[in-house]
């Protein structure tokens, strides 16, 4: 018998109190923003990366992003650590479920890969970048798996672990490179700043895509509904 939903008074009161406090705090904000956006925009112009979001993510606050990539990889590994059989879902779905699904997937996935590449490329000057490209790539991976296409051998085991880690490892290598040139961590040399950022973004896209696909596939239940008692 399903448990009846109960209203818990203490958490409810606490949430309402925090909500009221935040409302009061937001109301008290001055009309003019005092943030760092002016400095950031000027800095981005000087650094040659026109998209200020990319400049903030990969350059000014590249250290945050480096650790955020670690968060994403860690989350994937955390989910994998709960599995007894990390490939349960792909084994359960076998064979493409019909001609329409197969044809559409065959048509869409190459387009999605091109879109992902495009998003990374335009990231230096406009909206786009590794996270957006990786999200499209991850969706392509999930589409392939759910439509029942057989997984290639490299998509599990040691080769897949490499794909998951290559983005972070490249980012670390690029972050450490300036140390040999007399700079601090992540202090890209001016002349190669753009190409280093692009290199990091391309490999991050691969790892982010692989992470998102793995997260989805690994969080599927070990047993299908029919097999449960």
């Amino acid at each position: 018998m399903p448990e009846r939903p109960r209203i818990r008074l203490v958490p409810l009161a606490a949430s309402l109190a925090v909500f009221a406090l935040v409302l009061r705090a937001v109301h008290a904000l001055p009309d003019t923003a005092t943030g760092l956006s002016a400095e950031m925009t000027a800095g981005a112009k000087a650094s040659g990366i026109k998209n200020v979001v990319t400049a903030v993510l990969l350059d000014f606050r590249g250290y945050d992003t480096l650790l955020e990539i670690a968060v994403l990889m860690l989350a994937t590994i955390a989910v994998l650590s709960l599995r007894t059989d990390p490939d349960a879902l792909s084994r359960r779905i076998s064979g493409v479920a019909g001609p329409v699904l197969g044809a559409l997937t065959r048509a869409y996935v190459p387009i999605m890969i091109v879109v992902a590449g495009h998003l990374v490329w335009i990231g230096s000057s406009g909206p786009g970048g590794a996270f957006q490209g990786g999200a499209v790539l991850g969706a392509a991976g999930i589409l392939l798996a759910l439509s029942g296409f057989a997984r290639p051998r490299w998509s599990s085991g040691a080769p897949m672990r490499w794909v998951l880690a290559v983005g972070l490892l490249t980012f670390i290598a690029v972050a450490l490179l300036p140390l040999a040139l007399g700079g601090t961590l992540l202090q890209y040399p001016d002349e190669s700043r753009k190409s280093l950022v692009l290199l990091v973004e391309i490999l991050l896209t691969l790892s982010i895509g692989a992470s998102l696909t793995s997260l989805f596939l690994a969080s599927a239940s070990d047993t299908s509904e029919g097999e449960r008692r």
């Binding site: 705090a25 904000l29 923003a33 606050r61 860690l74 700079g183 961590l185």
Partner: protein, 493 residues
């Protein structure tokens, strides 16, 4: 490239590289990668502490931008102390874990990922101790939170999964609340760098609400009473090396940020009442945690509730810190000695408890009578950790209580000294109960040791270090003097 100039960066990057390599290399090679990383980290940590002691606090500008645009790492005595503590407990836990996971089911898929998760946790703790940026703190506590939850659930048992889920919710609630606070603070002060914030902070509603939310979130993550509800089950149902790391190190991570926010970022008199409230909750934690530890029937829960109690002492520094710089120096040094002593003693006590559970095949205290005859080394380790937890001389715990009581008496706020004495008596009560069971004159029903257990010496090494810490107190007091807090208060070493 001179390694010494880049120590703050390398202390974060080294375990991060180790985590990636351990993941890619697979389960066979991973333990060796972890051991090599742990050894390298100890060396880096000691070099780092030596440099801070020699040259005083310094900042490391990542990307060369400098705050407030970029992220600065803050290298000071307080960071150095916690990093050295992490490296010592970390190395012992790594060595212990290589034996522990060999003896458990080798086919369990998750166990192969222990090393990666553990090195990720190490990365995030070092990151937390070094960062000078309140947003970067958020990224680090996310890393700590996810790795800690994954490590609790790695054994996959139903108790561990239930405790891990509760831990995950508490952890996410803390992280989200903290982030909400950072957003409000940034909206008001226009910066996320701690040093810049301390200059720009004005007592307006937005900034005060933001800081209050951030401190509340970190208090939840540190498991200060009444936000301790997630800790006992999470720490008790984790695999033994994980329990030790969680109790010895992870709660110190969020506590460290509370220290930074309350003592460095907030000017005197900011958030009136917050310091007193934290002190009162600390006192409540000492009493409640000890009483709960007294009535537990399972060994790991007893140890976990003792952590709840010991966390309380750490928060007595906040009300005492408002009484001028001499009392501040005494109280901060006392809190730092206590954090170090508790880290070593509790790490050792959890490893010893794990060893007892392995030998008895269960965790029921009542059936562990007479353990001393079968496992004298582990019993001795438990007794030594008791010495420091009660604050008996000569031990690190004694020095910590002495410093905190001196601070309380010098400030005239004598009631905190009463709390400290009562806390010591309560700790004596639950530790004597534990030791009395172990040394009772009864035939112990342990399983015969399958082979000589070398890992039994590891908990003893940690608890002995906690006792010998008394002789390192001058060093810790030098490190405290080299903290940004005491330097800006004008205390000369």
């Amino acid at each position: 490239m001179n390694v010494v100039h880049h120590l703050p960066a390398l202390l974060v990057i080294t375990p991060l590289v180790g985590a990636c390599v351990a993941f890619v290399a697979g389960r066979r090679v991973a333990p060796h990668v972890a051991l090599a990383t742990a050894t390298a980290d100890v060396v880096l940590a000691v070099l780092f502490a030596a440099r801070v002691l020699a040259e005083g606090p310094f900042r490391y500008r990542i990307g060369g931008w400098g705050a407030p645009m970029g992220i600065d790492l803050v290298a000071d005595g307080m960071a150095a102390l916690f990093i050295v503590l992490t490296s010592i407990v970390g190395l012992v836990v790594t060595v212990y874990a290589s034996g522990y996971f060999r003896s458990t089911d080798p086919t369990a898929y998750g166990h192969g990922l222990f090393w990666t998760l553990w090195l990720f946790m190490w990365t995030s703790l070092n990151g937390l101790f070094l960062t000078g940026d309140v947003f970067n703190v958020y990224v680090c506590i996310e890393l700590v939170g996810i790795s800690a939850v994954a490590l609790v659930t790695i054994s996959g048992g139903p108790d561990a999964l239930r405790a891990g889920m509760r831990y995950l919710f508490a952890s996410m609630l803390g992280a989200m609340t903290y982030l909400l606070g950072v957003a409000l603070l940034y909206a008001s002060a226009g910066a996320v760098d701690m040093a810049t914030l301390s200059e720009r902070l004005v007592p307006d509603t937005t900034a005060a609400t933001g800081l209050a939310l951030m401190v509340a979130a970190l208090v939840l993550k540190t498991a200060l009473v009444p936000a301790h509800f997630w800790l006992p089950t999470a720490h008790a149902s984790a695999p033994t090396p994980v329990s030790a790391a969680l109790s010895a190190l992870v709660v110190k991570g969020s506590y460290f940020v509370v220290l930074r926010l309350m003592l460095d970022v907030m000017p005197d008199g900011y958030l009136p009442g917050a310091a007193t409230l934290l002190g009162v909750l600390g006192a409540a934690a000492i009493v409640w945690g000890s009483v709960q530890a007294l009535v537990q029937t399972r060994i790991k829960l007893l140890v976990a509730y003792s952590t709840v109690a010991q966390i309380g002492y750490l928060f007595l520094v906040f009300p005492l810190a408002r009484n001028g710089r001499d009392v501040l120096a005494l109280a901060l040094t006392g809190a730092l000695v206590h954090a170090t002593a508790h880290g070593l003693a509790k790490g050792g006590l959890f490893l010893a408890a794990g060893g007892l559970i392995t030998r008895f095949g269960h965790d029921r205290l009542a059936e562990m009578r007479g353990a001393a005859r079968a496992v004298p080394v582990l019993t001795f380790a438990v007794a030594l950790s008791g010495v420091t937890m009660m604050g008996l001389p000569p031990s690190g715990g004694f020095a910590a209580k002495w410093l905190l009581i001196s601070a309380a008496l010098t400030s005239g706020e004598w009631w905190w000294a009463v709390v400290l004495v009562v806390g010591g008596l309560l700790a004596a009560a639950y530790m004597f109960r534990l030791v009395a069971i172990l040394i009772a004159d009864a035939p112990a029903e342990t399983a015969p040791a399958p082979k000589p257990v070398r890992t039994e010496w590891l908990p003893l090494a940690l608890t002995a270090a906690a006792v010998l810490l008394l002789f390192a107190v001058p060093l810790i007091s030098d490190l405290a003097a080299a903290s940004t807090t005491l330097q800006s208060a004008g205390v000369t070493p």
